[in-house]
Symmetry: C2
């Protein structure tokens, strides 16, 4: 049994929805379908979810929201029209939105979650109804009826372990099942959304729950590239990647698949395939627990993300002081800051975090460190980019670090920080934001084509 | 005003002591002299301090200790004899040892410190007395009279901040001053020793206290080499090195100068020179707050130390969990383990420590981590060597990492771990113990002579 999830652009209009249902109906194994809210139909279009956010803001500020509501209803009206379907659903949509606003307007965080869930929810109903009309037995299930029981904190839904038993029962339903992505229901019967991009998470939860043989994630690209196509022209597609490699890549800028969505699949070793709704014949990229590794494909991909900040601390004889680092990390914890890397010398540490983590807290955090840790020097650097070279088994092949440092040196890029743990499948290079694209380009060309940017040398 | 410290081999017999006093008397700026206990006179000789430890063990086990005591007295008798001095000091030595044993035999840690201090203490008295007999006004000062007031925990002496005011007054004493190294006196009037090799620390404390213009550290080598002379034939001598560079090098195997001794000097920017008692005309190695750096001497030295252990922890989505690393470090703290490096990925950390830190605690520590931290994978690796490439400004020069990784790759050495912080003056490479010497050799030859071990390539 397969679980298939379709992203926003795959379900943005009638012709896309037809493509989706062709894919769904063609394979009897594709039993459970997770759908997103209608995405953009063209470059300047607005996603349904964003329309819902605007509606929420109107309500929140006690403004007249009828126009915004109409825009939303119109999105579904357009689709129904194109599909030659009856318009009865539009009444349900209107009534549902009004009921939500009426019931929850005094509880903004709840209102937000409930309104935003509508994008996926209406679309799932619409698509299920259309598929039924075409003669395919199809059941729409709300997340509540599907058993997606989650924690109660708004916008922070986490699946409850007990939910999986209920989800397993979906296997017994005949025909196709269509479930809206992006949200679950709490024990207090509130709608709670996953972090945005969360349809991937719904799909992963259902795939794990029904013990699917494959989780198909349909998007508008034919898989995952070895590097960002905005930086590298026609980068190679990855055929096979491990969960851990995928996570390292998606961490530093690869946004095809939400990395948190891998978590339910990871332990149960359910494979994922990233496929293109518009080119279903393409093989796509498989994400698995293990992959075949040989010396030629040790480096699976290269990514680079900007917007990192680093706090540098120097203290003479730091390594002799049992507990010093823990004290510093305790301060970060007090301010609820999670960090990503911590390269260190014997008398210094650099703590690297996403800039968003420390934004608006910077002064307080630095003051606290200064006050509590008796440091010799303390500084903060912004505009740091993190280049990640990712690949299982990379640290067992002599010369990998040399390849990368060679490519960077040839491009005159200074390495500010370096980090590779013993069991690690990635190498981290801290560089200037200005060098970010050049770093991806030079390492990509050198690792995959054996040529230096300057054409001064060739890889062995 | 200069403070000069002479190590054990510089004061091991009459002819060495004469060399020392020639050096001392020749320069009127050399006012305060710190002396060690008599060291080895030849390869198979026993250091006086080791004789004192044997005496301590006899006393501790209620055995007859007279033979051991006689051996110690004999060391000083030999020196007095060779210097044609009267033997009255020997009676003082005998009585002092007996008094210490009598008074402290029920308090072994105190007994240990008091007995061990004798090696330096008798030697200082002897040398001061000899210099006076030669017509040079010389005052022996016990650490108590010199104002070296320390904390009370046996074998762990730390200078008290208030001591420095008292030490400053030494400037007013006329003539030369000779002070025994290695110990101070606590407020409870107990003798407390510094960690072994602690004469360096006494010298540094006195140099800081009197605000010396230079702290001269006389040993049996003409300075600090760029790499271990046991691995590299005739390595280059370093003319000038910064405190921080010195500390990084001494951390990973350079034992010329006790790195903790730099601490009192560091903040007050008192320069140190490492000189050879046997070749005082040699320039020696200067340790300063800053040094001139140009692209050619960016790497000041290369060192490699064995006997490291690494704990590897993997946990999916580790970087999202605020406080995870702190929890792990808290466990190390509970077991009083200090670690040295912590390279990390986004889902894993490697914690590197000296094997001695975790010896006998390994099982408990791993169990505690497993129990409290909910990790995915946990492993421990022994037999790790740490290669340190040290140099101020190294991280500002493009291509340094490339040089090192190139040399290692050419020698077929696998880099298990990599670490370089942003403000760092060293690069750390975790490698197998078996590769340790080869790593020093290949990086040394490539960095300083531009040749690969295999002669396959030349550095640019």
């Amino acid at each position: 049994m397969k679980v298939a999830k379709f992203g926003g652009s795959s379900v943005s209009n009638a012709s896309q929805i037809k493509k989706v249902l062709d894919i769904v109906n063609e394979d009897p194994e594709r039993k459970i379908i997770i759908v997103s809210a209608p995405g953009k139909r063209h470059k300047d279009d607005i996603k349904t979810t964003d329309l819902l956010i605007r509606l929420y803001e109107k309500v929140l500020n006690n403004l007249n929201y009828q126009d915004k509501k109409k825009e939303i209803i119109q999105r579904y009206a357009d689709i129904l029209e194109e599909l030659n379907m009856e318009k009865t659903l539009l009444t349900t949509i209107d009534e549902t939105l009004e009921t939500i606003i009426e019931t929850l307007k005094e509880q903004p965080p709840r209102l937000y979650d409930a309104l935003l869930s509508c994008g996926e929810n209406f679309n799932a109903q619409l698509i299920a109804s259309y598929n039924n009309s075409k003669g395919y037995k199809t059941t729409y299930l709300s997340p509540k009826d599907a058993g997606i029981l989650v924690t109660d904190l708004p916008q922070q839904a986490q699946i409850l372990e007990e939910a999986y038993d209920e989800i397993y029962k979906l296997r017994d339903i005949e025909g196709k099942i269509i479930i809206p992505g992006f949200f679950g229901v709490s024990k207090h019967d509130f709608i709670v959304t996953f972090p945005r991009g969360g349809s991937d998470i719904t799909g992963a939860i259902i795939a794990r729950g029904v013990k699917a043989s494959l989780y198909e994630n349909f998007t508008d690209v034919s898989g995952i590239y070895r590097a960002n196509p905005n930086v590298i022209k026609n980068p190679e597609l990855i055929e096979e990647i491990t969960y851990r490699e995928m996570r390292e890549l998606s961490y530093a800028g690869f946004s095809v698949f939400h990395d948190e969505a891998l978590q339910p699949l990871y332990k149960h070793r359910i494979p994922v395939v990233i496929k293109n709704t518009n080119r279903p014949q393409d093989k796509g990229t498989f994400i698995r627990h293990e992959r075949d590794i040989n010396n030629k494909n040790v480096i699976i991909g290269i990514s680079c993300d900007k917007d990192f900040t680093v706090i540098n601390i120097k203290k003479y004889l730091m390594n002799r002081q049992v507990g010093f680092t823990r004290k510093v990390l305790g301060i970060l914890e007090d301010y609820n800051i999670s960090f990503d890397h911590m390269p260190s010398g014997i008398d210094s540490i650099s703590i690297i975090m996403r800039t968003s983590q420390i934004k608006n807290k910077e002064k307080d955090v630095l003051n606290a460190i200064r006050k509590k840790c008796d440091v010799d020097e303390l500084s903060i650097e912004h505009n740091l980019a993190i280049l990640m070279i990712v690949g299982e088994g990379m640290n067992k092949v002599v010369g990998t670090a040399n390849k990368i440092t060679h490519a960077l040196a040839e491009s005159n890029i200074n390495i500010k920080m370096l980090n590779q743990g013993s069991s690690e499948i990635s190498m981290m290079f801290g560089i200037s934001v200005e060098d970010a694209d050049k770093a991806v380009l030079s390492t990509y060309e050198y690792c995959y084509h054996g040529i230096c940017l300057k054409n001064l040398c060739k890889s062995k």
